[in-house]
Symmetry: C2
Subunit: 215 residues, 2 copies
Amino acid sequence: MARASGSKREREEPARLPVVGAEPPERADAARNRQKIVAAARSLTEKRSLEKISLDEVAEAAGVGVGTVYRRFGDRSGLAYALLDDSERALQSAFLQGPPPLGPGAPPSARVRAFLHAYLDRLLRETDLLLAAETSAPTGRYTGAYAAHRAHLAALVAEARPDADAAYLADALLAPLAAPLIVHQTVDLGMDAARLKAGLDALVEGLLGTAAGRP
Amino acid sequence: MARASGSKREREEPARLPVVGAEPPERADAARNRQKIVAAARSLTEKRSLEKISLDEVAEAAGVGVGTVYRRFGDRSGLAYALLDDSERALQSAFLQGPPPLGPGAPPSARVRAFLHAYLDRLLRETDLLLAAETSAPTGRYTGAYAAHRAHLAALVAEARPDADAAYLADALLAPLAAPLIVHQTVDLGMDAARLKAGLDALVEGLLGTAAGRP
DNA sequence: AAGGTAACCGGAGAATACTCCGCTTATCAA
DNA sequence: TTGATAAGCGGAGTATTCTCCGGTTACCTT
């Protein structure tokens, strides 16, 4: 089920975020329906969390059949990612070509730190959507946008610590930003954003050594 | 939904793992049914993953009504935790009163390292159950056994680094052990246990400083 | 412009999750 | 023992997810 849903979404959702190569172009009616569905979902999420909205309901609001919703987005998680598309593009653009420290120009550890902060801010801003995206299809989380974040961090880690297992450390840095964990920390444990950022800073400090004496 | 399901399981599942205080005793027929359900589920999981078994099916195999399964365990996640009960007890016993370095007697950073290794081994041994436990009810993951692990690590971290935010770092150390991430790393990325352990060691080293010069 | 083909659509239907409540049973006090 | 009472039980019923396929439509070729 893990791989199945992952590869399914990959096939069903052409030309989205992390895809680079050219794919069979989307037919006009399909694109139109996609937009109708996204618009309807966006409108519905203004009243309650996506997690409490049935996809049948989205289909009806969009004026399409249920099958169409599932064909386009696979499941609730796929729809959530579509709704996150804008902020994801903004984030990627910021760390790929924006001003430092998030974008190029700052030392790697500072960029890692800036990325984690930016991701946390975004998570706190779109908690409901990211929760829905991660919790339906939990095993499919690690493709798509996650892979881009992971690659970005891995490159920075490799730059700062060429001897380390950069790929692993990238995962380890992203893991504390899992949406359900953040929700638990903020809602149940009462941790605020500043505390979480301080904690993330401690991680970066320990792993990459922003202190002067580190290689 | 997050809090709801969490508090529900808490109410429905008396006298399990992390509960300390006395609760209303479980009626004899209820206990009998619980055992029948667990036994049936255990038997069914020998053939396929719990995630692919409907709870109706478990109920029928156990010879009880569906309502009984839901009342006792709340959802698939609750049932999974029940099936993990034995290994969880073993783990807790090992780090609370077993021999060092997992149990008392070793320096804190060594105990943290030993705990992470032990948890990873257990995760690799019972991947399917832990995956089912975490992925149904993802927001309820952070109560019960997780809270015990977190408290244990937090105490060790506080001992090793009295100045640090021990509670946060405990979460940060446990986060890379999320079942779906481990599955992705091992299945999709082909990382083996040794690599994961080395990565965890690097985390511990960076955060707690097993190297001599750390306070 | 017309026709062929591949993609797409819709919604009925099967599977599964989860709830609800009238009836039964265990437990305990008298 | 025997009621009283609270806890538990079962399974029909409702809600939601997800699939499947006959009919439709966009797109390209000629």
